[in-house]
Structures are given as structure tokens and as C-alpha cells.
């Protein structure tokens, strides 16, 4: 039987209370959102927080909404809500395509967007999605609300820009009129983490790529992205040859590690193929050829 080491349980009823509890209990306190990364780690004793601050009552952090020219997603929004969001489906199909292959429906009923990003697992799908979309994270403390670019959010495996006494409260993504987006993932079986995954958005102007974002998961890409590949495509027509060129750059720049999900060359190959597919579909959607 897997049982976590003993800890104190505190339930926060407001954001202020959650921050106060984090401040009072110091670095040995951890937030508990969906618990679907933290509790398994605690059961394996890979994590041993002394205090858990449960934020599941902070329903004010559970939303997907249009806010000016950005889409705002509350940190406590469950995967299932993101998957079902009509607003996200309208602007960014990449979300539903990624969510449909994150874990399974039961895990998606509990796991949250904020928990996913803060877990910062190198194979986390939403990290790749937000990196592709060049989103921003809003991090709250008793002193301030600061905004961190998603591409600077991850400090390494399982490490983020969220410091002691801070809470990730919101993710923001700019609305890009006419943009197309897509997500591609290869997993060993339904519900499993990615062997490799790639996401992309493409914005066209006069048939030329005006802007593009690429996200990569599980292949050791720096900050879950590959700016060199984006630069190669920007200003070009999204032809098969140009897309292949960008995908090859991703293949060469990523740094996958061999594990039970596959050897390095296989993951590089997947990165290339999945970036090709994601860019191709995103471009078609941007062109209006595909819904």
C-alpha cells in the first residue's frame, strides 16, 4: 500500500488565505490542486511536504474567458473544462486536440491547468501548448501580481518561476485573428504520457507566414519550443518544403533522452514528423481550407 508521509492539511478559502498559509508554513508547504501529480509523488515518497494547502475551494480561479484581446484561463481550471471549452475551440483547436490525449477522462476531471504547468514535467502537454502560443503566466503573491512569459516560466525539469509564497493564478494567450493551430502526440497507449508531442499555430498574411509558434513536449526542447525553426518559417510561404525545413531544425535542436518510452533517434524522428503534421494542419486551418 502506498501511503504519503504524514503532513498537515490546510484548506484555503480565498486567494489571500492561500498566500498567507504559504507564507506561514514556508518552503515545506505545497499547494494541492488536482493532486494528480503531487499525491502520486507523495505516495512514492518522492515528495514530502510538511503542509498541504488545498486550493480546490478557490473556484474563482476556475474559468476560461475572453478578456480584451486575450483569452484568460484560471489556474484551477480542470483539464475537462479546457477540453469542452467552446471559446478555446473557436480560437485555438490546439487546446482540445492536446486535452483529448492528456491522461484519461477521470484524471482530466481533477487535474488542473495550473497544476500541470507548475509540475513542469518535461512531458507535460500543456507546457508545449502554451509555449507554442507564447502565452503568459500571472503569478500572485502578497506583494504583487507579476506576469511571466511562458517561455521563461520553466526553469528546468520540475522547476518553475513560481517562488515560495507565490501562486500561479492565470494563463493568458493573445487572440490571433485567423490563426490556425494543431497538436500532435504519440503515446504508447491511451492515457499515457507522450513519447513525443508537438503543437503549432500559424498566422498567414497574403499567403505568407506572418507569425508562427512551435511547442515541443517530451523531447528535451529548451523551454518546450524551438525559436530557430519559427524564424526559418516566418515570412515564407508554408509549403511542404519550408515546413520540412522547420521540422528538421526542431529534430536537430531538441535534446531527448532515452527511456522506457524510446531511444533518442526515435524521439528525434517523432519530433520531426509531429512538427511537420502540426505545422501543416495549422497552416491549412489558417488558410481556411480545414475547419
Amino acid at each position: 500500500m502506498q501511503v504519503p508521509a504524514p503532513f498537515d492539511y490546510r484548506r484555503a478559502h480565498s486567494l489571500d488565505e492561500a498566500v498567507a498559509l504559504l507564507e506561514r508554513h514556508g518552503p515545506d508547504a505545497r499547494l494541492l490542486a488536482g493532486g494528480h501529480s503531487l499525491l502520486p509523488m507523495m505516495k512514492l515518497r518522492l515528495a514530502r511536504p510538511e503542509t498541504l494547502v488545498d486550493i480546490n475551494d478557490l473556484t474563482e480561479l476556475d474559468y476560461v474567458r475572453l478578456d480584451g484581446d486575450e483569452i484568460a484561463i484560471g489556474a484551477l481550471t480542470r483539464h475537462a473544462t479546457v477540453l469542452a471549452s467552446a471559446l478555446l475551440a473557436e480560437h485555438y483547436p490546439i487546446f482540445a486536440e492536446a486535452e483529448a490525449v492528456i491522461a484519461d477522462p477521470l484524471v482530466r476531471n481533477r487535474g488542473t491547468v495550473g497544476g500541470s504547468l507548475c509540475q513542469a514535467d518535461p512531458a507535460e502537454d500543456l507546457s508545449g501548448v502554451f509555449a507554442a502560443l507564447r502565452g503568459r503566466a500571472v503569478v500572485h503573491s502578497s506583494a504583487e501580481n507579476r506576469s511571466v512569459a511562458l517561455r521563461e516560466f520553466h526553469r528546468g525539469p520540475y522547476e518553475t518561476a513560481v517562488g515560495d509564497g507565490e501562486i500561479l493564478v492565470e494563463l493568458r494567450v493573445p487572440v490571433r485573428p485567423g490563426a490556425g493551430s494543431a497538436y500532435e502526440k504519440v503515446e504508447r497507449r491511451a492515457g499515457d504520457w507522450a513519447v513525443a508531442a508537438a503543437g503549432a499555430f500559424v498566422q498567414l498574411r497574403d499567403g505568407v507566414v506572418a507569425d508562427v509558434g512551435i511547442g515541443l513536449s517530451a523531447v528535451g526542447a529548451d523551454h518546450f519550443t524551438c525559436p530557430e525553426a519559427e524564424d526559418a518559417l516566418r515570412g515564407q510561404e508554408p509549403t511542404a518544403a519550408r515546413i520540412a525545413e522547420a521540422a528538421a531544425i526542431c529534430r536537430d535542436r531538441c535534446e531527448p533522452t532515452a527511456d522506457q518510452r524510446g531511444p533518442v533517434d526515435f524521439k528525434r524522428h517523432l519530433a520531426e514528423v509531429l512538427v511537420t503534421r502540426a505545422l501543416t494542419r495549422a497552416s491549412r486551418r489558417a488558410g481556411g481550407a480545414e475547419a
Binding site: 501511503v3 498541504l52 484524471v107 476531471n109 492515457g191
Partner: protein, 173 residues
């Protein structure tokens, strides 16, 4: 800490350690062993119960998190004294063999049918993708869910044929 959890409509409560998992609270404290405890790693779904109407894995939920909330377990499915159409579907379509995955399957599929009374096969398979069955190959579970969808309107009038004696006939048939 003291927790108070509504389980199948009844108030329950106990002094527990914060680290007690909901699955163990249900089985060992409340004594409802219908909820199965399987992989213990959030993968198999045998431990699926409803938390405030939403199916979740109770091996990955603290009893403390359910404090003040409502839990529904497989024991509640025949609460009216009659089997849920889904349970009857599992009997009619041989939806279980060893039965270990069944409580989780039932709780996941009941939630599906409540939101989508006539799901197609793909929808059913997607819904149970977090519930593993090592015996049936899922075919009969999908049929059982379809049976329940087809017989929901009947309001649970006729009871299924009891499985007595049928097993032997099936083998020789």
C-alpha cells in the same frame, strides 16, 4: 483531523490522518468495500467514485479533500431497491468476468449515461479509457453500456434473466 463526508446520501464522519486516501476511508472507515483498490497509481480506475457528481479516482484523492463534500459509490446504484439499468446491462451482456474493474466501470459509465443517454461505441470507449479491464477485452462492457442506453426508457421494468445455470450452457453451446 475531523472529516465529515456525505456518502451515498448519508452523513459519515471520523477522526482521520490527513494522509488517508478517500478509497481507504470508504473501504476501511465507512466499510463500503464495493469501491475497489487496484493499482494505487492513478491508472486503473477500479477506485472510481463520484465526488460532487464527478467521477474521480479515489486512490488519488485525500479523504480530507472530500471533507464537506458528497461522495457516491457503487453501493448507491441500486439504492431504490432495483438494479440500475447499467448493472442489468452488465448481467445481460456478460460485462464482467472477475469483477474487479466493475465498480469503477459502473461509476464512470453511469456518469456518462447521465450526461449522454445514448452514447455511441466510440464515446463509450473514450469514457472508459481510464478504467482498465484485464478480463473482458471491453467488448461486453461496451455492449452492456449500450444495453443500458437502450433500456433506460423502460424505467427498469423487467428484471434480467438470472445467470443461474446459464454459464454451463454457454460453454457447451
Amino acid at each position: 483531523m475531523q472529516v465529515r463526508i456525505t456518502v451515498n446520501g448519508a452523513e459519515t464522519g471520523a477522526e482521520v490522518e490527513p494522509r488517508l486516501l478517500l478509497v481507504h476511508y470508504l473501504r476501511n472507515v465507512v466499510g463500503l468495500t464495493g469501491t475497489h483498490w487496484g493499482c494505487d497509481t492513478s491508472n486503473c480506475g477500479a477506485c472510481t467514485v463520484w465526488l460532487d457528481g464527478v467521477p474521480v479516482k479515489s486512490c488519488t484523492t485525500l479523504a480530507a479533500q472530500a471533507d464537506g463534500h458528497a461522495v457516491r459509490t457503487v453501493e448507491d446504484l441500486d439504492a431504490g431497491g432495483e438494479l440500475d439499468p447499467l448493472q442489468r446491462g452488465f448481467m445481460e451482456e456478460h460485462g464482467l468476468q472477475c469483477g474487479f474493474c466493475t465498480p469503477g466501470m459502473l461509476m464512470t459509465l453511469r456518469a456518462l449515461l447521465d450526461s449522454d443517454p445514448d452514447p455511441d461505441e466510440t464515446t463509450i470507449r473514450e469514457a472508459i479509457s481510464g478504467n482498465l479491464c484485464r478480463c473482458t477485452g471491453y467488448e461486453n462492457i461496451v455492449r452492456a453500456a449500450r444495453w443500458a442506453a437502450a433500456h433506460a426508457a423502460a424505467g427498469g421494468a423487467e428484471q434480467p434473466t438470472p445467470p443461474t445455470g446459464g454459464a454451463e450452457q454457454e460453454v457447451t453451446a
